[in-house]
């Protein structure tokens, strides 16, 4: 018998005795009765988010400030170009990495810098030497200040995590309310053919492993900038 069948066999054998449902036990903190069916709507318990775009944008901005994400609402392409150029100038970017996409194409044309495209196979050390990685995304989540992206929407796995500065370009209608909405959007967009990697990025890379003191840029980007147009 294969190991798979043995393990499954042991599981089935073990499950012949039923375990009490949580909440039906006595004791402190256990007094809430179990629901009839497994709960699927978490909205009423997760952190509250307002309905209008302005409320969502305000919450995303507040979360970004806490996470040390640089979040900027831009009105149009001209403003985006100005801000990107200012950023490139301030940090002295010499080379950027990006992927093909409507907004990214605009961005690298606007910047006029040498560029590495990760659309096809690329050289790893070349990507590592880039000053910034510019990507699009699938969604922004107001509730947590997160960026949702996948290998398909953001030029693979490494582009958004290897360069020291990750710049995200998003549309206004990508700014979603909460986490359930984000997962629904992923399901809706990719359905039965999911990309091999999907990620929620919440702020620049961080660690607190030394005396619980926050340090940014542990392994991933030290900076995260989100432009929402």
């Amino acid at each position: 018998m294969s190991e798979r069948e043995q393990i499954l066999g042991r599981i089935r054998e073990a499950l012949r005795v039923a375990a009490p449902k949580p909440g039906l036990l006595s004791g402190p903190g256990q007094r809430v009765p179990a629901h009839e069916k497994r709960p699927t709507d978490f909205k009423p318990w997760l952190p509250a988010v307002g309905d209008s775009f302005d409320e969502r944008a305000a919450l995303f901005a507040k979360n970004s400030a806490e996470l040390k994400t640089d979040f900027q609402l831009v009105a149009n392409r001209n403003e985006l170009q100005d801000k990107l150029l200012a950023l490139a100038h301030a940090e002295g970017w010499k080379k950027i990495a990006t992927h093909a996409g409507e907004m990214t194409n605009f961005a690298f044309a606007a910047l006029g810098l040498p560029v590495l495209q990760t659309g096809a196979r690329y050289n790893l050390s070349e990507l590592e030497s880039c000053d910034a990685g510019i990507t699009e995304c699938d969604a922004l989540v107001a509730q947590t200040g997160s960026v949702v992206l996948t290998t398909r929407s953001a030029g693979g796995r490494a582009l958004s995590v290897l360069p020291p500065h990750h710049v995200v370009l998003a549309h206004r209608d990508q700014l979603l309310r909460d986490l359930p909405a984000a997962f629904a959007a992923l399901k809706n967009c990719y359905g039965s053919n999911y990309p091999s990697m999907m990620c929620l990025i919440t702020g620049p890379s961080r660690t607190g492993d030394i005396e619980r003191i926050l340090v940014l840029g542990a392994h991933g980007p030290k900076k995260l900038t989100v432009f929402c147009m």
């Binding site: 190991e3 393990i7 042991r10 599981i11 089935r12 499950l15 005795v17 375990a19 449902k21 949580p22 402190p28 256990q30 809430v32 179990a34 629901h35 709960p39 699927t40 978490f42 318990w45 997760l46 952190p47 990760t118 096809a120 690329y122 790893l124 590592e128 509730q143 947590t144 290998t151 398909r152 693979g156 796995r157 490494a158 582009l159 995590v161 909460d178 986490l179 997962f183 629904a184 999911y194 990309p195 091999s196 990697m197 999907m198 990620c199 929620l200 990025i201 919440t202 702020g203 890379s205 660690t207 607190g208 492993d209 030394i210 619980r212 003191i213 340090v215 840029g217 991933g220 980007p221």
Partner: protein, 465 residues
Amino acid sequence: MSTIAQTFKETARRLTRDLRHRSLIQNALGKYYVGRDEKKGRFQNWQEARQAAAEIKWEAVNHLDTYLQEFVKKIEARGTKVFWASTGQQACDYIVEVAKKHRVRSIVKSKAMTGEEIHLAQALEKSGVEVVESDLGEYIVQLREEPPYHIVFPAMHLTRHEISDLFNKKLGSAPTDSPEELTMIARRTLRKKYCAADMGISGANFAVAETGMISLTTNEGNGRLSTSLPRIHVALIGIEKVLPTLDDLALFLPMLATVGAAQMLSCYNTLIGGPRQEGEADGPEEFHVVLLDNGRTRLLADAEQRDTLHCIRCGGCLNVCPIYKNIGGHTYATTYMGPIGSVLTPHLRGLMEWKHLSFASSLCGACTEACPVKIDLHHHLLQNRRNAIRCKSPWWEKLIFQGFVILMNRPLLYRLGVKFGWFGQKFHGLIKGTKIDPMYAWTQSREAPQLALHTFKDYWRRRQS
């Protein structure tokens, strides 16, 4: 008493009196409590969220065969190789074999408690492969050649000065007392390792059955890098990690971050459902998922404690446990420490050798209150005690209780006993606090209470008359 229990007692006794150790733990956890409570407060209803999380985990664990098969079917469909391992040895052998087959020379590992559990790094190193822990805390304890101190904060027992000395000695870096500098030293060293590694090893926080994906949570981005750059990715996952649907993550990810690290959401929550797919820019050519039993089905068979398999390894119960805070993580000498470790270890490694952990508890219930998936931890500690006594009850304890029964059933004898006790206690002073004192465990550091000459019964009778 077994030598394991003996060592446990001795280390515990030493560390509870160590003021420096205490201040380190308090410093680390003090900030955590403030942040955790603030994040909990943002939930509209934390208790309902806990209940929902517990019910979802109950559903998954109590239909484990169904969900595991769904998970495997979906993840295999995208070209993932799945290996089922009944024991840690089988899992190690398989991963060593994969490494050999692909001529792997160096491996970057992101944090995985399952790896600690089966001593994976040691097995790989023995076969001649270099294994580098990439989580900063794990990297620090790896350089010190010791196990992690905490499930989530592996290096919480060290000061920046100790870490600076360590880096100076092992990496030749200049001494510094800035955590930022120290982090950057590790970043530079590990960057080279990432880019050169042939294989990445990770664990998983969740395995989503509906879509066939593993969910990996890190703050540093090491989980992202070690699953993106190397040409092979191996994920070592306990079979209990399955969740029914993708949407469930909308609840579990923020709960894990809140209790685990006092954050609303951890920095990187990554879902991986296969190796690099057609048309994707990068990613590993091969993705292996190793499903680990290693005693979990034995625990599953114990319906009373089955909810222990709901654990999401957030470390929340360690952070509130008065025992953990006093004796620290290494004293347990187990992979999983704190209340969850005390409940789990007897199941994974044998009750009689590890029962002492269940006795080392104040039964205050703080762990149960803290648990985001409502594992009934402190009752499980009691059940372990009961089971241990059932296996082998100490004769002297039986004798004492038999004597107690006789005494309590005979009022005359009881009254005589109380008077005699009062009389006998006069002589207690001669041996009090010395090793021949039968009450030594108590009197070595405390005063013994005085028995009253006039009992309540005497008083009551006098009052009535």
